[in-house]
Symmetry: C2
Subunit: 218 residues, 2 copies
Amino acid sequence: MAKADAGTGKTAESAKDRHRKILETAARLICEKGYEGASIQDIADACSLTKAGLYHHIRSKEHLLLEIQNYGMDVFEEQVLSQVVAIVDPVERLRACMDKNVLLVTQGWSKEVTIILHEHATLTGDARSQINSRKKRYVRFLESSFAEAIRSGRIRPVNPTVAAFSFLGMVLWIYKWFRSDGAITPDGLSRDMQDLFFGGLERAPAPLPPPRRKAARA
Amino acid sequence: MAKADAGTGKTAESAKDRHRKILETAARLICEKGYEGASIQDIADACSLTKAGLYHHIRSKEHLLLEIQNYGMDVFEEQVLSQVVAIVDPVERLRACMDKNVLLVTQGWSKEVTIILHEHATLTGDARSQINSRKKRYVRFLESSFAEAIRSGRIRPVNPTVAAFSFLGMVLWIYKWFRSDGAITPDGLSRDMQDLFFGGLERAPAPLPPPRRKAARA
């Protein structure tokens, strides 16, 4: 068993888990009832906390929304971006990135976190800028990887910005239609989507050099 | 000038325009304040109507949401689906469909209508089924067009369901990032996206037949 913190009877790990649980419960409630519709009391009830108990964990309702989005970005960066940034070949990097992002969206976290991350424009000011700049980092990473793949002749020339947002649209739209009990498995989806997207972009292996004798002068 | 209806002083056309204007205003408000946050009074105010006046045009707040979604699907079917269903070649059909859908999303209607159509899960029961079945019709059309293109050898074999949802994800994600004052034009985006998606799917022209003499036996 993990060692308990003196006094609180809770381990550092369980406090983190607890906080994560609150964020996921709040995300589910905000998705069900809308941001305006889900009151702090509703969220406290769903977490089996008093309102005062919930305020021990969160600063305000808007800050809670920011925390859910930051939590979503933390998990994304940990499970997707940081796993692939160091891959040298740009096409392998992009393929691995698609694979990990498809797996994250299909089985790695709650659908509600994805929804809050991509559909809730309720944040304002600094909070909004903070999340937007984290999202932009991903777009820039994709754009520069596509540009690199084009420069090195690994894929045919396409618009890197359109390629980046198309990649994102394909992968992020998944939460809207994928059913974990459906015919398509997460692994199958990742493979099919990579084939669809990269199968037609990657250049065929360089042709063999022509034979030395001058055959074409005839 | 259009002929006015006796008594009301309004033409049939302007009544339709008026209704459309109410739906677009309500869509904007629901996006700004959330479905729970936007009251019927707010919507009436934004339409320069009294609450009673607004109720002359709409049945209830939930029905208004259904009307906005049906209006979105009407415009989509009129400007995209009905323009392309009759195209015989499946790849030409799918390319034209992508073109018209990109143009619709970038300049054809309000962003708020797209948001309400794709992000608001507030509808329940029959209303929800009605919109879902209209959306499913589009998915089935795409799937069957991809399947037909594969059968006829026009594109390389891919999973038609994954192709259909990838097409949709690419096209529908556009409202999240496209800026009409940005560097990418609607026409340019349509062209680049078609190239990205279909450029690698369409089969290359059949290779020239090999030369008759046996050159490779040496």
